[in-house]
Amino acid sequence: MFHRKVATFAASALALGLLAGSAFAATTVNFTVAEYSSKTGPFYKEVAADFEKANPDIKINIEVVPWDSLLQRLTTDIAGGTPPDISIIGTRWLLDFASQGVAEPIDSYLTPEFKGAFIDTFMKPGIIKGKTMGLPVAASARAMVINTDLYEKAGVKPPKTWEELYQASQKIAKLPDTFGFGLQGKEIETDAYFYYALWTYGGDILRADGKSGLDSPEALAAVSLYKKMIDEGLTQPSPTNYSREDVFNLFKQGKVGTIFTFPMLIPQIKAEAPNLHYAVLPFPVEKTEATYGVTDTLMLFSSSKVKKAAWKFIEFTYQDKYRKQFDLGEGFLPVTKNIAALDYFKTDKDIAGFAAGLPYAKFAPVIANWEEIADTTVRALQQIYLGQVSPADGLKAAAKKINEIRGL
């Protein structure tokens, strides 16, 4: 029991310290903001300042944390007994937060009017066992981006099917110092780069019975195509040395014909490679159209003692003027109907290209242990890309491991 006492002591010392500091101050709401770009922190501080002006009795304490360390940070904060009141999280973590009782169901706070402001597709991933556990705060869908200059030089048309992409990549790879297809093989979202193919081949991450879909014929066909492109030199060499950013950098340098990416890359291309000509297109299709829809969630902590004030602030941040500034500034797709109705999302060719996929977007399954399952998939892909195992064996072993993790 010794360590319990120390913990209580430390906590009360901390509380005393905090009290002493703000004995007469107003309610404080602690808000952990995930850093999407250098604009995120200043944006939320501005919103908080406006809010504090309107509500002098509430103070918003914003802490900006980089995405890479966000989950670790929240884990240690929760374990240490000092979680924030609100946080932006990856929706893929939400189930863990909800099932551990860390997330507060927000149905009782949601007025019909406020709820109606959101696009339903994006509300859905936040609903767990019939309860709304969080609000969508950012959304993106993925798409294929091609270097139109390279396609012209090689004399090929933008691909609509995987076979066309394969053939186009063959021709582009023949150009000097150029690769046909940029393939990610390292670190965060290496698995997503494969899901694009898996889905459009007609496969899925999980089968209808909840077991892994990695040992399906569709998954095999998808990964075999990637492997064939590696072996024939159509991708950049050693994809396992290329993280998402590395692949995107090759594209910005004009060395790659085709990549799969997110809307946030477009402002980067405009800033860093203004002379690059590109087009945003849907993914190649074998059987069905698909894209990866990704949302992030704004979550209220069940341990919060200032839920009312926190909720007031949450509602405040969803005003149209702030949402517009946020979505346009970060390059996200809108999560609220009013912003989606803006002309920008229809007339801007690039954003429209990404938004086009939303009707058929797939989301990462909301299941426990998702990170471990994703890691198992990445390990299998890397082994296959490196030639350590055959595609069939690698996928079969990964599916077996995933089923074990899922307890099936």
Binding site: H3, G80, Q100, K186, S238, T240, E372
Partner: protein
């Protein structure tokens, strides 16, 4: 009188001892406590589950892979560091023009955080855009760029070399301190007796430097064994867990997969390994010293 003399020293180390127990002992106690419980995704302790976490660890093939690589990593980095640092320290101990500058250059990597060094190397080793390949190709050593971190064995080798590079300043500093304390007249006497430089090194420098080498071994083993940044920044233990050592694997388990109970068990095992190593090493050193004294 006897009781007061035996109590006094005890009483004098008591404050230090209490502090050490608080700082070192408490986290270990907490880890041990957590490792015997089911721990939630967010670090809240649930039910007592005996040795289930340890069983999970010992049933995990990735644990054994990481353990073996940890031993290779520690042995190679510490061995390489010692082999390079002693000659470097001896060179820097000689009088020569620009010695101050040379010392600064050797110490410089120390002043940069490990993470920054690793980030810089990650960029430099990038296959297409990295400076390292570009330099080698300009010099005509390479024709085609090499993807240094694309394959596990090669990546691990590169990481070991960088590990050695960043460990040199600290070790060299220890050795320089030792060398400057060596009595010069011994060397003069040896030179008069006709001892070659090699013989001087073998029979004077090495034995007299032994305590410094010992401390360098122990400290480096502890630092390197527990060192996360280089491998984490450069490859995150990949591709396909091929460069995972225990500490990177532990980090993944704890903060990506949320298996804090299993991660606590691995931490304790790591602590045990280091403790056993240190005890064995200290015993060996003490026996060596006792033997040397007996000879005299």
């Amino acid at each position: 009188m006897t009781s007061s003399t035996s109590l006094k020293p005890l009483a004098m180390i008591l404050p230090g001892l209490a502090l050490a127990i608080l700082i070192i002992g408490y986290p270990i106690y907490d880890l041990g406590y957590a490792s015997l419980h089911e721990v939630s995704r967010f670090g809240q302790l649930r039910d007592f589950n005996g040795f289930n976490n340890f069983r999970d660890v010992f049933e995990d093939p990735l644990f054994y892979g990481s353990l073996i690589r940890t031993l290779i990593w520690t042995f190679a980095v510490v061995g390489g560091t010692l082999a390079l640092s002693l000659p470097i320290a001896m060179m820097l101990n000689e009088e020569f023009y620009g010695r101050g500058l040379a010392r600064v250059i050797i110490m410089l990597p120390w002043s940069i955080s490990l993470t920054m060094t690793a980030v810089v190397w990650r960029w430099a080793l990038n296959g297409r855009a990295g400076l390292f390949n570009a330099t080698l190709m300009d010099l005509g050593i390479l024709k085609e760029p090499i993807e240094w971190l694309g394959e596990a064995n090669q990546a691990f080798t590169v990481e070991i070399l960088i590990g050695i590079l960043v460990s040199i300043p600290f070790t060299t500093t220890i050795f320089l301190g030792g060398l400057s304390a060596l009595p010069q007249d011994t060397y003069e006497a040896a030179a008069v007796d006709g001892a070659t430089r090699w013989k001087q090194f073998r029979h004077i420098t090495l034995p007299l430097m032994k305590p410094f080498i010992n401390i360098a071994v122990v400290l480096n083993v502890i630092y390197v064994f527990n060192s996360l940044p280089i491998i984490w920044v450069m490859t995150e233990g990949g591709p396909a867990n091929g460069t995972d050592i225990l500490v990177t694997y532990l980090y993944k388990l704890a903060f990506r997969f949320g298996q804090l109970g299993k991660a606590s068990a691995i931490s304790l095992i790591m602590f045990g390994v280091l403790l056993i190593f240190t005890i064995i090493y200290v015993l060996l050193v003490m026996r060596g010293e006792a033997g040397a004294e007996a000879e005299e």
